[in-house]
Symmetry: C2
Subunit: 698 residues, 2 copies
């Protein structure tokens, strides 16, 4: 899309010159009366045209039988009609040249195959007509800067719509009301709020990308029940990061019950939450654990950026020991590094006889709860090179005497030089005025201990879209995969593919079972196996021997294994005898690539074995990954402590394992690969080697 | 203490006839002016006597130079003097016959050895005089029913002190202000709030026990940084449970940083958070993860009790799919079992064409957001035998139209028959009026998703003090421990002790190394070891052989091991040669007993080995435990999945392991045992057997 076309579409979405409300009513008890009420209430400056074939006027405005009967161009239409009437209403919009259509009705993909087909027809119609379709199941679109509150959401009944710089994209319409109402209580306004519904046409990604051009928006809040278009989401997330606009998502599905519900209530198909979390993280989208983090983190992330020169750690000042300790405890539990004042800052404060307490927490106590002391402490610590982020916890004075400990924070921040550490604040009591004073002074605030701690951890943790590895699949691997038949590849072919991707294999030799077996030249002992796609479980089939000491033993083993395999699976095709050098390592790993229905191709690495499953100790990322990301993954697997030189034991070659993970993750680039796995990889002190492998092609 | 004496002490604590404020000031800028201000402000009906030797009057009241100079008996004194003057002030209180003294000053145990000594002297003085001493470092005592706001905490500057039925005992004084202020915003009042400070005299347990007699208190909130007197805490917790008064604690120390801070800022010595969590749980004290759970859970636990006949599961009704799904997700993630309507209830609602959605969530949608539907749904589901707890999530209507979906909940609850399921509610928007309406109607409410989910999980999970196992240490075990010297017992002696406690050992025979070795009569092969308290690492010392096939080999092994041990540790005393039958099992476990500095004796069970450490996969309880509790512990260890018949593998005898855990946990009853461990225990399909053991005596 050209830039002018994008600008035009954004205007039609958030600031249309005219809007049609199809199915509008003026019965205040009816949902269909709400959009016209809210548009007037919040001062929408464009034209509003009710469309209702049975009426001359609706709510005092002239009503039209069809959108195409409206005598002026219509930018945006909100369809309040039922599912059956939606198709003809959309056709009518197409013939009227409407640019954006949102659709309230349910009864589509969430309502079974018939609804699914109806939704597909709508989407095709919109695509053909070049209409940006929002919904179905959308409670509408609101943009506060233009007063465009084109929504059926009862939460917009409030008297005045606060403006703000946060955009909301939500798969749940009702949650928009929750965010609006809770945001209002926190003094947080929004720029745009869109209920994306079933995303039959435009989804979170496409709408997000469009809103990146919106000069009223600094940060994005996503409420997700599923991921429907990961390519569009990726494009949006990468562009948002490039523009420095943080994106924070809350996603339902922490539990299996939650996953099941997402299916039942909006037609979403929720995949594994680990794969979705990996996708969001890989895109540089931060995931909120606590619901209110969705409200408090985005403005903090947009305002309290750590200068690059500052360490990624937090210093805490408190007027109350218990409160400061509670915050430090919660931040540390979320992985934040806690710092104390540097020597120079400490000396400077001590010289002024300012109480600081013991340990890392700077506890000024009641004795230091006064304007001069607090301002000095905040100024000194924000300038201290040891400070990355400065969190100020304020006790009871925040409620009744904000001049003592709240105003000095605001003043110190206002006077802070370029490059000072960002300051955030947590008043322990319920202190609405203090929160407002701090926010007005540009100091992000929180009203829950855990949300404060979670946001502080987000501010400290780098979050960027993962780099996409360069280049295509190596040609030899691509050729092997291209010509292989569908189904499971045998060990030898799978091993060839992984070797072509760069995975080290043990030295090996393949013998035709009908020809004499000679010394494979691998040294002795060797491992001997029968190669067969029909014998997936070699041990049970008697088709593997470890530690074969010499050539006569290898010949005997070949004959015995052949007999055992015949007895076990009479029809099994035997491709040959594979002899491999015996390798020893310090431990094993498993590396797999699979395709999640929502999150797409992912690579997983863990220790392998039942304990990995029991402890769910594996790292997941969208595939392919670079070697830097692979290193990050290995650092996450707790069980690899055993390969990191646990208690003086020798360390495994995790660098070689990281290269292996990066190399084999590229197999995801081949569209026919449904799953691929190396299980196990042997990890030695110097290098890794693939011991068994599997590839399944579609 | 006799019942009348307790009643008298409770009166002096919360409703004294007269109070002395020692060090009172009338300079409003000074902390020392606050108690008299707050006592007057909140209508305290007793006499208030300022004590200040330099003044005739303070704040219009006659001042005395000493407490003992006050012409009427004084029940309660609050000492606002510094640490140095505290001892003489306390002596003065003793001579005046004061019953309760609270002390503001810091500079005691938290300030090093000198302060520690000063604190010990104060405590001794109070004990001798029979004074209930609160503090030092106490911001005072408040009882709302009597207006006794004898505190320096600025949070009590509010105009009116709301009454309520929750008692607060806090080791952090400032957190009392936080709870008061946040409670006020939630419409929650308190009965009594005590800042226990350093607990030199009365601590959380003793004060809690005293307040159990308070007719104004239904539930207890504890804010803990440490545990100082676990015996008193246990007595309180057991009595509270017997009276049906829930106790909820928030404890700092989730992270190591938090643990370190507790040390630095109040003189607390924080032990391992796992041991403290085990202690609280073992006492039937619920631990809050989220800070605001401390405010919301206790009233819910006091009011929304599950009738015994109802299943421990929650049914969710929602007017908004997204909100209901979010709550279900969070509750399930905290282990709550989610239920849907029973067949009869579903049929009844369907017959009335009430929308219910798909799946377990009863989503009445906007179409069902009206008084009649909501009342019918809540009444029907509260009566449904499938419902254990009923959670109602209300969308935007809660904010602007509480008559639609909030009032019907209150009315349905008011009309609910005896035995109906308790109802709790979560309004998604910021809806202060709806919260107040629901709370007034006896429906517990929440303002955070996570706090609601955590409290619902608490309501469903049984929580009672663990039964204390009957009887003393078995006499033979006691005798063995009594006569053993301090230090580490050798394997043979430790094994004897555990055998006397009931732990199965392999059959074994001990040979004098200077006499001929004969067939031990254990069958072959056997395990052979040298017994020596000086050879703790037998493998390194060459002092163990596994799979010894016959008598000649045993004789050879004995000679070789002796030579190896001599070479390894020339001075080691060798007690003999131990031959044991070879046993095989399905897996191993480790069982240990140790003493935590705060939580006291605990028993720990896990799989053993490095993975248990890496994954911190062990269950901990105060020792000793009954076999029922031991079973509960085994169910918590994830790694024991391998012994539970994982994927069709044979199951280990976990019942025998539970008996072993219960039996050996009794070793904690012997005061000289500092630590004891069986590592490993071999777990077979039929029984368990101790393979190696250690006991360390003080």
């Amino acid at each position: 899309m050209t830039a002018p076309a994008r600008a035009e579409l954004l205007r039609a979405l958030t600031d249309p010159a005219s809007v049609a409300i199809v199915g509008a009513s003026d019965n205040p008890a009816k949902l269909q009366a709400r959009p016209m009420d809210f548009l007037r209430r919040h001062g929408f400056r464009g034209a509003v045209h009710p469309v209702n074939p049975g009426r001359e006027t609706v709510a005092g405005a002239r009503a039209y039988p069809l959108v195409s009967a409206i005598p002026e161009p219509v930018d945006h239409a909100y369809l309040l009609v039922g599912a059956e009437a939606a198709e003809s209403a959309l056709s009518d919009c197409a013939s009227a040249g409407v640019k954006v259509v949102s659709l309230l009705a349910d009864g589509f993909a969430e309502a079974g195959p018939e609804g699914r087909a109806r939704q597909d027809r709508l989407a095709a119609l919109a695509a053909e007509a070049g209409i940006l379709l929002i919904g179905p199941n959308s409670t509408g679109v609101v943009a506060t800067h233009s007063g465009f509150s084109c929504t059926t959401n009862a939460a917009f009944r409030l008297d005045a719509l606060r403006r703000g710089r946060l955009a909301v994209l939500s798969q749940s319409g009702s949650l928009i009301g929750t965010l609006l109402s809770r945001g209002e209580a926190r003094g947080r306004g929004f720029s745009t709020l869109i209920s994306v519904g079933n995303e039959a046409g435009a989804g979170v990604g496409q709408l997000g990308s469009l809103l990146l051009d919106d000069p009223h928006t600094d940060a994005f809040l996503l409420f997700l029940e599923t991921i429907r278009d990961r390519e569009a989401l990726a494009e949006f997330a990468r562009a948002a990061h490039a523009q420095g606009k943080p994106v924070v998502a809350y996603m339902i599905g922490a539990s299996e019950e939650g996953q099941a519900l997402s299916v039942s209530h909006t037609g979403a198909l929720t995949g594994s939450s680990a794969a979705c979390a990996a996708l969001l993280r890989g895109l540089g989208i931060r995931q909120a654990e606590q619901f209110e983090t969705l409200l408090d983190a985005p403005p903090a992330l947009a305002r309290a950026r750590l200068p690059a020169a500052r360490p990624r750690q937090v210093t805490v000042v408190s007027t109350t020991g218990g409160g400061g300790a509670m915050l430090i405890d919660q931040m540390a539990a979320r992985g934040a590094r806690i710092a104390g004042p540097g020597d120079a800052a400490r000396a400077k404060l001590q010289a002024q006889a300012i109480p600081m307490g013991h340990g890392k927490l700077v506890d000024v106590t009641l004795a230091g709860t006064n304007y001069a002391t607090m301002k000095e402490v905040v100024s000194t610590l924000a300038a201290d090179p040891e400070t990355g982020l400065l969190l100020v916890c304020i006790g009871s004075s925040a409620q009744f005497q904000p001049d003592l400990a709240v105003k000095p924070i605001v003043d110190a921040v206002a006077e802070a030089p370029e490059g000072a550490a960002p300051v955030i604040a947590f008043p322990l009591p319920e202190a609405t005025d203090a929160l407002a004073m701090l926010e007005a002074g540009g100091v992000p605030t929180f009203r829950s201990v855990e949300v404060c701690a979670e946001t502080a951890a987000m501010l400290l943790a780098p979050c960027a879209p993962a780099p996409v590895p360069d280049g295509p699949l190596p040609p030899r691997a691509a050729a092997l995969l291209d010509r292989a038949p569908a189904g499971v590849m045998d060990e030898l072919d799978a091993g060839e593919v992984f070797a072509a991707l760069g995975a080290p294999r043990p030295r090996q030799a393949l013998f035709d079972l009908d020809l004499p077996i000679v010394d494979p030249g691998l040294g002795w002992p060797v491992v001997a196996k029968l190669v067969s796609a029909d014998l997936p479980h070699k041990t049970e089939a008697g088709a593997i021997r470890v530690g074969v000491p010499d050539l006569p033993a290898l010949r005997t083993a070949a004959a015995e294994m052949r007999a055992a395999a015949r007895a076990h699976a009479p029809g099994a095709r035997l491709r040959g005898l594979l002899a491999q050098e015996m390798r020893r390592g310090l431990g094993e790993a498993i590396v797999g690539v699979s395709r999640d229905p929502l999150a797409g191709p992912v690579v997983t690495v863990g220790q392998g074995g039942v304990l990995t499953e029991i402890y769910r100790d594996a790292a997941v990322r969208p595939a392919p990954v670079t070697v830097e990301i692979a290193r990050e993954m290995l650092a996450e697997v707790r069980g690899f402590a055993l390969l990191r030189g646990f208690r003086g034991a020798p360390a495994g070659d995790l660098e070689a394992l990281a290269r292996l993970v990066a190399d084999v993750s590229r197999i995801a680039l081949h569209p026919r690969v449904e799953e691929a796995e190396i299980n196990p990889v042997l990890v030695g002190t110097d290098g890794v080697v693939l011991l068994d492998a599997l590839v399944r092609l579609g």
